[in-house]
Structures are given as structure tokens and as C-alpha cells.
């Protein structure tokens, strides 16, 4: 997170096994540099993306979530990415209502041959999130319970 005033975003990536994960592999073998902000999770298909995953990543402190899959029409499971498009559109509407900036959660496509595009996408999203600043979602529900400290102290007393 924030070190010496320079904000280094943490992005969680969900990459499909067949296209975007391989694009990331290709970016690696081709030594295309991009910021060390993306921490990626492999799923078989963007169709596997449970919206819960995105919410969980945000709740756990990610500054952004990047979902990448095969280009429409090129899904290895024929149409999984179309299902991702539908659910993602709805997820975005909900997230907008939750007051989340659009750039925080993005869906992109990269074929297995598009290492350059993959690297560019990560770099571009990193810049956008840097401009937005840290998300740190849990700060949105500050603890307001004045009795919690007392309660905890009493619980500890009980243990002693």
C-alpha cells in the first residue's frame, strides 16, 4: 500500500486459463515490463467469475479488480465470455450504486497472442487507480460502537 507517500495500488486479476493467462505468460516470456501491481488468479473461463469474488477482493483491501478473458467469439468454451459480459454489466451497475468509481473494476479481453495488450492494460489500469487513490473499502464502515472496547475488556477479564 502506501509507502513514503507513494501509492502503489494493489490490483487483483482474474484471468481465464486459455487466453488472458497465456497472454500474461507471453508478456513474461517476451519480457514486456509492466507495473508490479497486479496479483492474478487463474480461473478456467471468465464465465466462472462469481461476482462474489470481485466483492471479496474489494472488501479484502484491493484497490481495483481486473478481469480478463478471451475476445468475444474466441472463448475456449464457446460463449463463456458472453456470459461474463452479461453478469459483469449488472455487477457494474450495482457497484456504481455502491459509489465505486468505474475504473476500479474493469473487464478486458486479450488473446493468448496479445502479451503486449495485456501489459498495456495492466499499466493503464494502474495509472487510473493511482489517480483515484487507495480504495481501502473497510474504512467506509468505521467502527462506531463505543461499547465494543468495554465489551472486549470485559471478555478478557472473564478469561483471566
Amino acid at each position: 500500500m502506501s509507502q513514503n507517500g507513494t501509492f502503489k495500488p494493489v490490483l487483483v486479476g482474474f484471468l481465464c486459463n486459455w487466453c488472458s493467462y497465456r497472454a500474461a505468460d507471453l508478456a513474461g516470456t517476451s519480457r514486456m515490463g509492466y507495473p508490479a501491481t497486479l496479483r492474478d488468479i487463474r480461473i478456467m473461463c471468465t464465465g466462472r467469475l462469481d461476482p462474489t469474488f470481485v466483492l471479496r477482493a474489494l472488501q479484502q483491501g484491493a484497490d481495483g479488480v481486473l478481469v480478463m478473458g478471451c475476445h468475444p467469439g474466441q472463448c475456449h468454451y464457446q460463449e463463456g465470455n458472453y456470459k461474463a459480459i452479461r453478469r459483469f454489466a449488472l455487477l457494474k451497475r450495482v457497484l456504481r450504486q455502491m459509489g465505486l468509481e468505474d475504473a476500479r473494476v474493469q473487464l478486458h479481453w486479450a488473446s493468448a497472442a496479445q502479451g503486449v495488450l495485456f501489459a498495456q492494460t495492466v499499466a493503464q489500469m494502474t495509472e487510473q487507480i493511482k489517480a483515484l487513490g487507495p480504495l481501502d473499502w473497510p474504512r467506509h464502515w468505521p467502527d462506531e460502537d463505543p461499547f465494543a472496547r468495554i465489551a472486549l475488556a470485559m471478555q478478557e477479564d472473564a478469561h483471566e
Partner: protein, 671 residues
């Protein structure tokens, strides 16, 4: 949880990882992760030393789960799964963290960042692996029969290879005869041997082979099942000729009074009758009645063919029949469509009489074609004295198809030779790049150059009959920029041949969907891997061969047909196939039967059981994409090896150093 013991192995990969990521630090830090019992770094994990280390640790330290942080799982997942298996650990209790392709190689100037990321990825893998379950691959029996769809050269080759090995093949072809596009050609490049001479024996073999059942004039309508056990419904279109009686004598089509332009085999260059056999060497030899053009079907009168048939084989009342085939594997060899040159109106095809397509020219120059091989203009008599061949028509063009059609350079060179040989005309080639890339092709190119063909480098802007000068009068003028001399040129010629590109079949999308294969951007069927698995598809048991996978010439089509056959024979000989256990399964006791998942599966693996009001996954059909798993609103579909718990654990693990959320209950902070 507490009895789980995780082994973590962080690979240096020589300098590849260790040059950027502080590998020792990552391995040291990993000791602090949950249930880690062993954490080590190693120079090369994939070497036998590294693999032996895993095996020894599993035995000595009783490790129950293994994490290797090294390269991409696409590189070495199999390797390390093997090591686990040898030590008696289920291979699905292994997880990989990709800290080379996804960390050290892409962040060479940010060592701290790369190290932090490597730690996060290792943490993710440890958290995930703790949720992983042992899995067993699914064993499926394989039927020995194979279905080949498409009787072009690729399909014929595949059928013959399998049949010769002793296994039954059904060869389904839409047209009345097998042979495909190759049967339409005159000569084949670069050797110039006659297409019919090399194809006909193969067609005959396929027709006469005891292991091959030919289903011509037939189309696949429905595909069910999965690898080893497909059920395929084929519609046998009514030929209106009884094959058991017909001798193919030809009396019927000689007597038939109705002449029709043959747009399929003769590419519109010649006529056929309403009852017809597409070409003399057709296999099978039986004719069909084209009911849309037959006088009897249109007016109720005629029946001349019936009157003259010596064996009384004509059946006007014949109807389409359906046959259900049980097959273990399928080869799609459905070929290509030729690009419709009318889509580039400035080239004048269909408007300017003497603009021909490559397929039309093939018929023109074919000794069995409408002009008996004479290269003449549309008037049928005049020999051209100058001919222009336009390359890349409908290929390498952002307005039509971006891809290279692969065969046009060579077929154009072939045409150059044939035109010169038959007419002595001057031939001009308008090309973008010459791509004679296979064995003997470059030599053929030089031969054509030596024969005096002119090559003009530049895409043609327009073909017109509007003359600017007396010598252009009555000619077709090809207007192009000659990019080698940097000038516009107007070349007047008698005849233009458009080297039309290859396109996916018009119905390729529908066929792809029916067989559960994908189509790429260009619309051709998608192979499992573009380099390492070019004839398999994402659907196990369905293979692709020939131009349906992408533009290719005869040698490549034959090679793919044979390759698909070899793949299938391997499976047939094994009698069983092991399927990856990455599969969805529904907890039926908890399924509420909402049916959201029912339309999710592109492979129709999910069915709704009315009586129980639950949905059910057929594990052999499931490919493990997980789209139904994500869709299930009551979260009772499990995607093995990518379960909800596993991915959630991975998310929590990957953010181990950042998350600030109170884990549960109340976080206690100053008010």
C-alpha cells in the same frame, strides 16, 4: 485444518527468477503461512533434484499438500503433479505459483515489487491448496466407429486412414459426390500433376472400402453425447434414385430435357441436367434429382428419366430419411467457401464479362470442364492475348478478410503457367507479397518468372472498361500503383482472373455450435492449441482437419486429415480415455430447480430432471468451464478444482498483506 502439512518450494530458475525476486526471502517468509511444514528454495525445481526433493519431503515429513513457486502452470504443472503422484500424493493436492512469467520477467526493474508480488502469489497458492481435494480422472469407454463430416480431400484422407487400420467410418457429404473442391481443379501446384488423376483413386478407395459407409447427399442435423459415445442424427436427402438398382449408366441425364446452370461444381460456367451426377468420376456413381428444377416436380409432367431408366431405379416418391449413428469420435473436414468477388465492386466481377474468379478459371482450364480445357473469354471462342491475375482478392484486406488465404499465390502461379502454356498470352500478376513458402514452391515461382510472367507489386485499385487511349479500347484496364517504381499504372488486358480468398463455410457458426467447437475471429474452427494441438478441439472426441480450420493447400489438408485419424486411432486403441476431473457437479439434495444453469452450458451437459425438479450435470459432457457454477444463485453447483472455497481462499491469500477488513464480529478501534 491442523493435520494438513504444506510443503512450499520456491524456484530460482537459475537467474530467471532469483535475478529479480528475493527467492530466499520468499521461502523464509512462507514459513509463516498457515500449515506450512516445509519451505525451501531450490536452483531448478523442474530438474530431477527438485522433483526428488518434493518426493522425499512428502515421504519424510508427511506433507499433504504441495506448492511450487516457479514458472507458469502451462509449463510445468504436469511435471510437479507427476512428482506428487510418484510419492503417493494425489496430484490435485498440488498448486503452482507463477512467479517467473508473472513476476520476475515482467518486473525486472522493481525488485521489491516483484518480491512482494511473489509473496502474495505464494500466499494465494498456500491458502488455495489447503482447500484442494483429491480428484480422480474420469474414465470413459470409446466406441470404435468414427464419423467424418465432409468428403473433400481432408475428410477422405482421414476416413481412409482409420478404415485401413480396421475400424468403421461413416463419411458424410452434403453434395451428391465426395471429392470436394479438389475435384473441380485441373492441375495442382507445384508439380502440375492432374488433380483428378491423384484424387480419383482415393475417391474410389473410399467408396469401395469395406470399413467406410458413404453417406453422400446427407447432412448432420443433431449431435448428442460425448467423447467415445456420440449419437449423430444424419438426414439423408432424397436422391429420388434407388441406389440398389441404379447402375450409373447415364441414360437418365442424357435424356433429361431440363438444363440448369451448375453453380456448384462448374462454378456457374456450365450446365447440368435436372437429374444429374456432378462429374463423371463421382463417387458414388448414382445421380440425384434436383427437385427445384425438375420439370416433373415443377409442373407435374415429364418423367422422361423414369421412362428411359433401364433398371427402373427412379423413385419420385422418395422422401428424406434420418439415420442415427453411434460413433466414438468425429472429424470435421467441412472445407471452405470461396470469397464472393462481388463484394469488391471496383473489380467488376459480375459486371465486366471477362473478369473471372479463380474457381471459374479452374473449370475453364479443366479438360473435363465446359470448354474442354480451352482458355477463352466469356464469348466461348476468343483466346485472350493478355491476362491479369489479381492476388489477395478478399484476403489481407481490412475491408473483407484480414487473414492471408495461403493458397492464392501458388494457385495464381499455376494459372500463370497454364495461361501461357495454353494461349501464349502475356500474363501480369498484381500482388502484395509473394508467399511461396512450402517445399518446392519457391522453385516453382522462379520457374514462372523465367517463363516470362510479369509481376507488378501493388494492390489493384480498380478494373474498368473505360478506355483512356486507343490501345485500351475494348480491353479491361487494371489500375494499380506499382509500388516498386512508385507510379500509377494502367494495364490493358483481355482477361482478368481474381484470386479469390478462402472463407469459412457460410454455415460454419451453426456447425461449430452443433459439434461444440469454437470459431475464431475469422470464423474458422478453433483448434485446441495453435501450435501443439492443431487438429483437436476443445470438445474431446471432435477433431478438425483441412480448410475448415483455416486456409490451407492440399498437402496440408491431407496431413491434417491423417493427423486427426492418427489421434483418433490412438484413442480407439486405448479403448478408454481419461478426462480431466475439472467438472461441475450439482448437489441435487439442495438444488431448488430454478433452472438458471440450464441454458448456461454450451455443451448441453446440464439437463433438468422433471420428476425430481432438479438439474443434473452429465460429467462426461462437462468441460469444466465453470459458467454454471458462477451462475447458480443458490451456490450448490461445485466446480471441481475451481471451487468457491478454493478461489475465495486464493483471494484472501493473495491480499494477505493488505487486507484491513475485520475478519468477523467487531473490530475494536478507538472511537
Amino acid at each position: 485444518m491442523s493435520d494438513k502439512r504444506v510443503g512450499v518450494y520456491v524456484c530460482h530458475c537459475g537467474h530467471n527468477i532469483a535475478g529479480t525476486v528475493d527467492v530466499e526471502h520468499v521461502a523464509e517468509w512462507a514459513w509463516g503461512l498457515p500449515n506450512v511444514a516445509v519451505s525451501r528454495d531450490c536452483q531448478f525445481m523442474c530438474a530431477s533434484l527438485g522433483q526428488d526433493m518434493i518426493e522425499e519431503d512428502i515421504r519424510e515429513h508427511g506433507l499433504t499438500h504441495i506448492v511450487v513457486a516457479s514458472c507458469s502452470p502451462h509449463m510445468h504443472e504436469k511435471t510437479f503433479r507427476g512428482a506428487c503422484e510418484r510419492a503417493g500424493l494425489n496430484p490435485y493436492l498440488f498448486e503452482m505459483a507463477n512467479i517467473r512469467e508473472h513476476a520476475s520477467w515482467v518486473h525486472p526493474h522493481d525488485k521489491d515489487g516483484a518480491t512482494d508480488k511473489a509473496k502474495a502469489l505464494v500466499s494465494a497458492a498456500v491458502h488455495r491448496v489447503l482447500q484442494q481435494q483429491p480428484l480422480e480422472p474420469l474414465q470413459v469407454d470409446i466406441r470404435p466407429e468414427t464419423l467424418v463430416v465432409g468428403g473433400g480431400i481432408a475428410g477422405i484422407q482421414a476416413a481412409l486412414e482409420i478404415a485401413d487400420a480396421g475400424f468403421p467410418v461413416y463419411l458424410v457429404e452434403r453434395e451428391p459426390s465426395i471429392g470436394g473442391h479438389m475435384a473441380q481443379f485441373d492441375k495442382t501446384f507445384p508439380t502440375l500433376d492432374c488433380a483428378a488423376c491423384i484424387l480419383t483413386p482415393k475417391m474410389f478407395d473410399a467408396g469401395a472400402h469395406p470399413n467406410i459407409t458413404l453417406l453422400t447427399y446427407s447432412e448432420v442435423e443433431q449431435v448428442d453425447g460425448y467423447v467415445g459415445n456420440f449419437t449423430v442424427r444424419v438426414r439423408r436427402k432424397a436422391r429420388h434414385v434407388d441406389e440398389s438398382l441404379c447402375t450409373g449408366c447415364g441414360t437418365c441425364w442424357e435424356k433429361c430435357p431440363k438444363k440448369v446452370i451448375d453453380t456448384v461444381f462448374e462454378a456457374g460456367m456450365g450446365y447440368r441436367t435436372a437429374i444429374y451426377r456432378p462429374f463423371p468420376q463421382a463417387v458414388p456413381k448414382y445421380p440425384v434429382i434436383d427437385t427445384e428444377n425438375c420439370t416433373y416436380y415443377q409442373t407435374g409432367k415429364c418423367k422422361i428419366c423414369e421412362k428411359f431408366c433401364p433398371t427402373e431405379a427412379i423413385r419420385f416418391d422418395m422422401e428424406d430419411e434420418y439415420v442415427d449413428l453411434e460413433v466414438g469420435n468425429i472429424v470435421l473436414a467441412t472445407g471452405y467457401d470461396i470469397f464472393d468477388a462481388r463484394r469488391i465492386p471496383q473489380y467488376g466481377y459480375g459486371r465486366l464479362a471477362n473478369v473471372f474468379t479463380s474457381l471459374e478459371f479452374e473449370r475453364l482450364t479443366n479438360a473435363a470442364g465446359p470448354t474442354e480445357g480451352k482458355v477463352v473469354l466469356r464469348d466461348g471462342v476468343t483466346e485472350p492475348r493478355s491476362v491479369a491475375i489479381i492476388h489477395c482478392v478478399g484476403s489481407r484486406d481490412k475491408n473483407t478478410n484480414e487473414y492471408c488465404s495461403a493458397i492464392c499465390c501458388m494457385s495464381s502461379l499455376k494459372f500463370d503457367h497454364l495461361v501461357m502454356e495454353k494461349t501464349g498470352a502475356q500474363v501480369y500478376n498484381f500482388y502484395i507479397d509473394m508467399r511461396p513458402i512450402h517445399k518446392g514452391y519457391e522453385e516453382f515461382y522462379h520457374r514462372i518468372l523465367d517463363e516470362g510472367t510479369q509481376f507488378i507489386r501493388g494492390r489493384v485499385a480498380e478494373i474498368t472498361d473505360a478506355a483512356h487511349s486507343p490501345e485500351e479500347e475494348g480491353k479491361l484496364i487494371v489500375i494499380a500503383e506499382d509500388t516498386l517504381i512508385g507510379r500509377q499504372r494502367r494495364v490493358p488486358v483481355d482477361m482478368v482472373i481474381l484470386a479469390a480468398g478462402l472463407e469459412p463455410r457460410a454455415d460454419a457458426q451453426g456447425v461449430a455450435h452443433m459439434f461444440g467447437v469454437g470459431c475464431g475471429d475469422s470464423g474458422f474452427f478453433t483448434e485446441r492449441h495453435p501450435k501443439l494441438d492443431p487438429v483437436a478441439t476443445m470438445t474431446e472426441g471432435v477433431y478438425i482437419a483441412g480448410a475448415c480450420q483455416g486456409p490451407k493447400d492440399i498437402p496440408d489438408s491431407v496431413a491434417q486429415g491423417a493427423a486427426a485419424a492418427a489421434r483418433i486411432l490412438g484413442v480407439i486403441f486405448r479403448k478408454q480415455v481419461a478426462l480431466e476431473p475439472i467438472r461441475a457437479s450439482i448437489d441435487e439434495s439442495r438444488c431448488s430447480g430454478c433452472r438458471i444453469c440450464n441454458t448456461m452450458c454450451p455443451y448441453n451437459a446440464i439437463s433438468f430432471i422433471e420428476e425430481l425438479s432438479v438439474s443434473r450435470v452429465n460429467p462426461a459432457l462437462c468441460k469444466g468451464c465453470g459458467t454454471c457454477v458462477a451462475a447458480c444463485p443458490s451456490q450448490i453447483i461445485t466446480g471441481a478444482h475451481f471451487t468457491f472455497e478454493q478461489i475465495m481462499a486464493e483471494i484472501d491469500g493473495i491480499l494477505v498483506d493488505v487486507h484491513t477488513a475485520p475478519p468477523e464480529h467487531t473490530a475494536v478501534e478507538a472511537v
